[in-house]
Every structure is written in structure tokens, then in C-alpha cells.
Assembly symmetry: C2
Homo-oligomer: 563 residues x 2
């Protein structure tokens, strides 16, 4: 429909173009805003139909890289000797591609042909032994190492600000190593991609002759284009984390290659043998060493027991009271567990296609108002009686807080777009809409303060959209995920705006990140946020593992000087 | 009944005697083996009635300490100036009392008046500020600091092998600081004792005007005589941990005073801001610094929803198959969750008074045989429908594996003795029975190997009892807890025997400890167990926090040279 008004650029990016690097996901897949959303954006962001029709900097040029390779021929030869010539790239396109993540900053630069940081050489190791040799060689010669998993970092986590080597994990090191049905664990190489992992678990009965089928339980929005190793080193959280746990809870054991040696942590589900090395390594973002494999909890795959539900609440306060009660009532957690604030709820009705449906009309008739009402989506997973009991209790609690049951349809509608919404970023940016996200951890007693503060900061800029949801729940709190949109503007202005939002989150007591990690983008806040004493603990670990500072150097997590 | 045969020494220990130090728990409380157990011990351990009647080394002498105080008068004055004279002890009795934990080694020594390690001075800090001053002073003057919580260490964790200062946490720093009902957390000083903490939570509605009553969820066997801080720094697990989590899972945030500074970790339930400092500190056993307060998850207190159950299985293999299925079926975990092997089951029937009851007769009639049958005890806690669904599923699974439901009575019988069984150690040792325990973490696929290996090692010595249970469950595995008994013998022989059991655990792949910690007793196994690379990580942290090695020095966790 909206195609009548806007010419969305649904064209497969040209080979070797900048666009082929920054476009999200499958080159042949596209998603454009529906008409209602388009109209809403135009109106709210103050973009005229004429402005909207112009496509700015689509990034169709062929990639060139002006940053010359600084590594000597001897070093390059050494790396070729380790992994074989066919597993080394020196061409401009590969260097830029594997040096780039998914921040909006990077996309805006690439659209103008600007590459701020690029590796000298791209290496595709074949196995752990290759990585051991690369790390030892780089340590001996003080060459920086960056690790590229699936490339979906939104924190400049993989950005090779000091040049050197980028190793790519998902080319060869993408295999399932062992499924241990007795222990209900699976060991995989760090470069394994989400969908392949989940496919093998779902079909384990056929592929590995297991008694049951399994699921990995970890489904971040980046699921289709991220690696298991990436999930772990950045402390990701999946969209079903409230039941399955964050990746932090799912990882049983990890194997690392570091300048200080190679080791695999123990696989016990619990032990009292001092601080847990497994936990010390999680979230280290490539600054201590390279994660080569991991053993993870797996879960029985029982979609037949799923119970979907959705509720509409009269306002944000009552909806938060309800989800807190659900989180603290001790009947287990729903897996999908999402509450949207009023601005996001109104947008979601457009995005999910609920607007104008029978449900929408019913909601209106019952007096739930736009700008006030809040949408709560959920699904229970697990054993049959367990999921039924969750749904029963959720219904009871929602009713108590004036929530109205609106069937499982909105959950299904959300589910359809769960991995494809990121496809909308490119067409929006093409047409002059700046869209970005920030997220934070909150305790229950601080949720409203953070929500209000961030919203009022974003809204202090005219013509902005600021939607929020909470989607990862714990008895002690949740997260807040902010999506903000404005009219596209100068990079410097955007940077000031972005910084201001993070400032306002941190100042009122949110964490710098709930599940995106720190990378280089949030590093400047680390010292103030954690305090010197606690950042010093991470720096001490960094110095132990990587005394020459070759692992992801240049400011990652605030562990060395910023770029 | 058994009093007719044995004169158990149910006498309150004399004031200032060694016995008053090593006797477990309330000085006025006693527990003696029932007649059936007594007969079983005599027969199995090969102890004649005459031998049994002799009480050896009851430890009634008044404590004297031959180890002179090595701290200078200036230092002692400095400590008196910090905490006040009334909070410093220099007398022999205090020095020995607060230098002693609960290993059998220590008890056997004290019975002979032998004190191997003793602090120069005992200090009772009043608050965090006192501790900060003590730590700074000790760091400046390189004086060793040991921390005494409740004194229930079974790992020589608090043993002041280098002399110096012992600070006692449970004298003043034993208060509840804040109950945050919204976040469902509670902040307490590290020296708070278990029962006081639980009492305040159970009565929170009256004491703090909360809407609900709460429970701490952590009930180790030492509950009545251990501190919250002690639970955390040794990585304890309570008897209801399968539902509430180990203390590792319960602690949200901690505040430490270390030579490298004072800090409190963040209270978010989750965040992606690098490796979690909260987790790095857990289980540090006083080697990094002094834990002064902690914020813990609390849980709704809903005993009215409890569902108790017990089953009898034909053999160990079928019972393990059943509890693994229960742990992996995704309907939630029972809280109490205990399976005893055949030898322990037979002993438990005597200990809990099931022997000879209607239940016992029924079990026999149904063909479950002594030496083969296994007892499974459980309780579900939480929301009503949740606990009912657990019991329903447990019943179904147990039936599938030939388990027979035998009512909730055995759980109740076990519960009665859950905190009092340790009272039996003194009367047993009095009469020549050596009783000690060791425990380990196991993955499901290694459980039977470890169980068999340890049993056959213990049984290779004639006249031994070796009972085992698993009592902390996870989808990926459980723990094995071994209780072994022999006739009392020379200390050197006992040490060889003890070492042999640990060797056999570690050699076949168990962890050195599941929930007792490492202390100084298990430190010699750390390097082999974790591997040099991983122990080096803990040593690096130790050096960061405590560069002068004043915190619990002398081999704790293998972080410095062994005593």
C-alpha cells in the first residue's frame, strides 16, 4: 500500500557496494513500514512527502579502502602459513566488511564511503589450533587481534581501531561438536550461527538419534545473523530469556585461547571451588582472549505445550504493577514476556497490523485510550501443566490490575516480525528517518524514574518518537529498551543526542547496557558507572590475560585507553 | 532406649573447656544414635560393646594456648583505638575459640589439647568503618587478617595459620539493613545469623509492615550457626537449593572492604557491562577482602502451598533415572530434593524412625529390598498450582521408574533432624566412631562412576560405612554427598584415608567441592583440578586485591604457598 506513496528501495545491493555491507540480513529480503506507520512517521517527525521521497546516500558505490595495509609482508606470509592462503583476505571489500558492525554511526559513514577503522588482514581460522597459533604469533609480535562473529555488534565491539588482524569465526568454526543428551548440554564452536544451531537441536532425534528434540532457548533479535560465541562474549539476552535465562545463565562451560594460555572451564552445573572461571570469562568481549567453543544448556523442544496470550492495560503504571506481580508470584516465568509503553503500544498496533481489526475496535469500545493503553504479550513454554498454570495465573493477575485479555493474536503478529523488523532500518534511513535503540537494566523501584527521564530527554528535541518496552524479566527487575526516531541530521548532532540519552540513563541509575554489551561505544561511561575500584578488577584481569594489550584493543569496555 | 547400653555424655560442656569450643550448636542440646543405629554401628564398624563404653578424650580441660602473642603492644593499642578496648580479646580461650572451625581434624586435636594455629588477637568490629580501618592498618603493617563468621567451616577456611588478627563478624555486624519489598531483596550485614534473618523475613509483615511474608530460601545444615556472609564467601547450598538456587544464585550484590579499596557491586538482576564483579567476588573465601554486607533475593513465604512426598525405588540406577527425568522435564524444581543410595536408605530408616513402622512393613511386602532400595524425599514450594503440578509430575515420573509413593511422612521425619544430626558427631567420636563427610559436583553422565569409585575406595578399608545422597539438583547434574564412618584411629591414618577419598573423587572427574568451599584443606588439589591456567586467574585477582597477601593467607584456595 505504502508503495503508492513512497518508492522504497527494495533492490538487492550491488556486489561489492557499501550497501551490501550495511544492509541487514538476507540481501534479497526487505521490509517497509506499512502505510499507517509511514503516515505516523511523516506527521510526528515533521518530514514532508517531498522530503520523504528523496533517497539520500544509498551507498551503492563500490567499496574502496584508503587505509593502507601496515602489516609487513613477513607477517602476512606467516599468517598464510598458519591458515593457508585461501583463508586470508587482503582485498578492500573484505577488509571493510569484516571491520564493520551494525551501529547507525557505521551505517551513516558507509553511506558516505567513510571507513574510520579497518583491519590490515582478515583471517578465517579453521580450528582451535589455528587460533592458538595466530594468538601466539600476534602476542610475540604485538599485533592487534579483533574477532568477527556474525557482525551484528551495535557497540563498535568488533571495530579494529588499531588495525592488525580480524579473525572471522563463522566461516569454518561453525560446527556442532557434541550433543550430550544425558547432561542436556550441547558443545559448539563459537562461530556457529543461531539458525543452524537451533535447526540441529530441533531435529536432534533424526540427526543424532536422541530420544527428544531440543531447543537452544536463546533468540535475540539478531538470531539469524549472530553466532553463539557472539552471544556469550557480549552477554546477550534472547526474546524468551525470562524463561530460558540470559545467555549468561545458559552457558555451562567455555574454551578460550588467550595470550596467557588455552583452557576449558569445568562443566559442573555448580561447584564451590572459588570464583567461577566460566563466569569471569562471560562478557569479556574479546579483550581477554578468543572464545573457541562453548557448552550450553539445551532445553526440551515442546512447542505443543506453548500458551500464548496478550492483554491490554489502561496505563503504564498498572501494566508495570501487573508484570512485577507476575515476576514475583513464584509460578514460573513466561518465555516471551513483553510490555510496551503507550507510545510503543500505539505504534505496535500499526506495525503488527492490529489497527482497524476487530480486536482494536473492541479495545476502543472498552475505553482503553491511545496514548495511555499498554500492550502486554506473552507465551509460556515448558511442561504442559506448567504452561497452563502460568497462563491461568497471568490471567488472574492481569485482571486484578485492570488488564483485558485480547487473545493470542497479537503475540502471533509480533512473532511474525520478531526477526524482520531490523530490515526496516535501511529503507527508513534511505528516506531521512534516523532510528536507533538504547537499552538498560532497571530494578523495579527505579523503573518509572528512568522511563520518565529518558523520555523527557528525547522529547526535549522537537519531532521525535520515543517508544519503550521491557522484555527481559526477573523477580528483582527488568530492562527498558528505548527506540528513538528523529529526522536524519548531521553526524555530530546525532552523536550529541545519543550521548545525552546514555547520560540520562546512567545518571538516574540504569545500567549502561542490559544485553548489547559495552564495546567501544559505551566504554567512556564504564569508570563512572562501575566506579574505579570495580573497573580496576576488570583491568587487572585484562592485564593478566593480555599483558601486551593485543586483544580487541583501543578502548573496549574501558580496559585500555580509548581510541 | 540406647541409654541402657551406652552412657552417652549428654553434659553441658564445662566453661572455658575445649569441648565447649568443638561441641556443635546449642551447649544444652544433644542427639544420640537410636538403638537400631547403635547396634548397626557396633556390628558394621567392628566395635565391641566394651570398646563402645569407653569415652576417649572428651576435651573437658580448660583451654590454654601455648602460642604466644607475636603482635607488638603498639599494634594491639592501635586496634583497641579503632574498635574500643571492649571489642578486643587477647585471652587464651577467645583466641582458640575464634581460631577454630568444625573439621574433624580440629576436633580430634582439641580433644587432646592441641592447637595448631591461633590468632594473636580477636577483634569484634562494630561496622564497616571499623573494618576499613583494620584492613588499612593491617595492609600498612603487613598483618594477616582472618574472618570468623559463624565458625562452621569444614575446610580450615578460617584457620589463622599465619597468626595475626581474626575479626569476628557475628558479634556486632549481624543486623538486617533494609528490606526492599518492591525489588524483593534484603540487605544484611555479613555477620547476620541464619535464624535471625529468616525470623525477620517470616515476620516482615509485622516487623516492617510489608504486604507479604518472606523467606531467605537458603537452609544449609549449618543454618542455625552460620552467617549470611559465610554462606556467600564459601558458595554454600541450602537443603532447598534445587528450587531457591544455591547462594550463588541468590546474591544480588555485595559490599567488600579490600586492601585495594571498598566497593558495593550493582544491584541489577542482570546487565551486559562486562564480567560481573558480583560473581567474581562470590566464593573468594576471605582471600580478596572482607564481605561487609550483601543484598539477596528474598522469596514469598507460602508454607501453606507446600507439597511433601517420598518414594521408594527398587535400586540406585532407577532412582537416578527418575530424578534426572524430574530435573529435565521443565515443570519447575522441588525445593527439598534428596535421593539416598541403598546404604544410606537403610541407615535413614533407622535414623528417621521409619524402621518397623507400617510404611516399612508395606515397603518390605512390596519387595523393595534392604541393600538395594533407595529413598527419595521431596517438597515443592511456590505458588499453589505450581506446587501441585510438580507433585503430580513427580508422581508420574517416579511410577514410570518403578518408584512407589510412601506418603509425606519420611520427609517430615527427615525435616525433624535436618539441623540436629550434626549433634551426633560428638557422642560418636566420644565412643570411638570416626564420622566425616565429603561432597562433590557431578554431571549426570559421570554420576555412577564417581559413586562406585568412592564407595569402593572407602570399602577397601574393612569395617566402614559409606552412605551417599544427592541433594542439590540441576538439569545438568547434581552433587554427591558422602558420609563415611570407621573406628577412630591415629590422626595420620585418618589423614591418609581422607586424602585417598578426595583423590578418588577428583581422579574420576568430580569437583573438589560442591558447597563446602576449598579453604586450606582442599587447596592442595586446586592446581591439578582447575589447571594452572585457571588457577592463575584466581591468583591474578588475589594479587590485585591483596598485593601484600594479608587476607586469609597460608594456602587458602591454593592462592599462595600452602601452610
Amino acid at each position: 500500500m505504502s508503495d503508492k506513496k513512497v518508492k522504497w528501495k527494495n533492490v538487492i545491493p550491488e556486489k561489492d557496494s557499501y550497501r551490501s555491507i550495511f544492509k541487514w540480513g538476507d540481501p534479497k529480503e526487505f521490509k517497509n513500514p506499512k502505510l499507517g506507520l509511514y503516515e505516523h512517521l511523516k506527521k510526528t517527525l515533521g518530514i514532508s512527502e517531498e522530503e520523504f521521497s528523496i533517497v539520500k546516500n544509498p551507498g551503492n558505490n563500490k567499496v574502496t579502502c584508503e587505509v593502507s595495509i601496515k602489516l609487513s609482508e613477513d607477517h602476512i606470509t606467516a599468517f598464510k602459513n598458519i591458515v593457508g592462503e585461501e583463508n586470508v583476505n587482503l582485498d578492500d571489500y573484505s577488509r571493510v566488511k569484516y571491520s564493520t558492525g551494525l551501529t547507525l554511526f557505521e551505517q551513516l559513514n558507509l553511506r558516505e564511503g567513510i571507513v574510520e577503522a579497518v583491519s590490515d588482514i582478515i583471517i578465517h581460522p579453521r580450528d582451535k589450533e589455528d587460533i592458538r597459533k595466530i594468538v601466539n604469533y600476534c602476542n610475540d609480535h604485538e599485533i592487534s587481534i579483533y574477532v568477527y562473529g556474525g557482525g551484528s555488534s551495535v557497540t563498535l565491539g568488533l571495530t579494529p581501531v588499531k588495525g592488525g588482524v580480524t579473525i572471522v569465526m563463522n566461516t569454518h568454526m561453525n560446527k556442532l561438536i557434541e550433543l550430550n543428551e544425558k547432561n542436556q548440554t550441547c558443545t559448539v564452536q563459537a562461530g556457529m550461527m543461531g539458525p543452524d544451531y537451533e535447526y540441529q537441536l530441533n531435529n536432534a532425534n533424526k540427526l543424532f538419534k536422541t530420544f527428544k528434540k531440543y531447543t537452544c532457548g536463546h533468540f535475540p533479535q539478531s538470531f539469524e545473523y549472530s553466532t553463539v560465541g557472539g552471544w556469550i562474549v557480549t552477554l546477550g539476552a534472547g526474546q524468551q530469556s525470562s524463561y530460558y535465562g540470559d545467555i549468561y545463565d545458559i552457558v555451562i562451560s567455555q574454551e578460550y585461547v588467550t595470550p596467557a594460555g588455552t583452557f576449558k572451564t569445568k562443566e559442573y552445573p555448580a561447584a564451590a571451588t572459588g570464583p567461577k572461571i566460566n563466569d569471569i570469562m562471560k562478557g569479556s568481549e574479546g579483550t581477554f582472549g578468543v572464545l573457541v567453543s562453548a557448552t550450553l544448556k539445551i532445553f526440551r523442544y515442546m512447542p505443543e505445550n506453548n500458551q500464548n496470550f496478550a492483554f491490554i492495560f489502561p496505563n503504564w503504571e498498572s501494566s508495570i504493577d501487573a508484570v512485577r506481580e507476575i515476576s514475583q508470584s513464584q509460578f514460573g516465568f513466561p518465555s516471551v514476556f513483553r510490555i510496551s509503553d503507550p507510545e510503543e503500544t500505539d505504534l505496535a498496533f500499526k506495525l503488527y497490523g492490529i489497527e482497524g481489526t476487530v480486536i482494536d475496535k473492541y479495545i476502543k469500545r472498552k475505553g482503553y485510550k491511545p496514548g495511555e493503553k499498554c500492550l502486554y504479550l506473552g507465551r509460556a513454554e515448558g511442561e504442559k501443566g506448567f504452561t497452563r498454570n502460568i497462563k491461568k495465573n497471568v490471567k488472574k493477575i492481569c485482571k486484578r490490575f485492570n488488564g483485558m485479555y485480547i487473545t493470542g493474536f497479537p503475540l502471533k503478529a509480533w512473532e511474525k516480525g520478531r526477526y524482520t523488523d531490523p530490515y526496516m532500518r535501511e529503507p527508513l534511513v534511505d528516506h531521512g528517518v534516523l532510528v536507533d535503540t538504547l537499552e538498560t537494566s532497571v530494578t523495579w523501584d527505579n523503573l518509572h524514574k528512568i522511563h520518565k527521564t529518558v523520555r523527557s530527554f528525547v522529547k526535549s528535541k522537537p519531532h521525535t518518537i520515543c517508544t519503550s518496552h521491557a522484555s527481559h524479566f526477573y523477580p528483582q527487575g527488568t530492562n527498558l529498551y528505548f527506540i528513538f526516531m528523529t529526522k536524519l541530521e548531521e553526524m555530530d548532532n546525532f552523536k550529541v543526542f545519543h550521548r545525552g540519552i546514555v547520560d540520562s540513563i546512567v545518571e538516574c541509575g540504569g545500567s549502561i547496557s542490559h544485553h548489547h554489551g559495552i564495546g567501544k561505544i559505551f566504554a567512556p561511561w564504564m569508570k563512572n558507572h562501575l566506579g574505579k575500584e570495580q573497573l580496576d578488577v576488570l583491568i587487572a584481569l585484562k592485564k593478566h590475560f593480555d599483558p601486551k594489550n593485543i586483544m580487541n584493543p583501543g578502548g573496549t569496555m574501558g580496559l585500555d585507553e580509548l581510541r
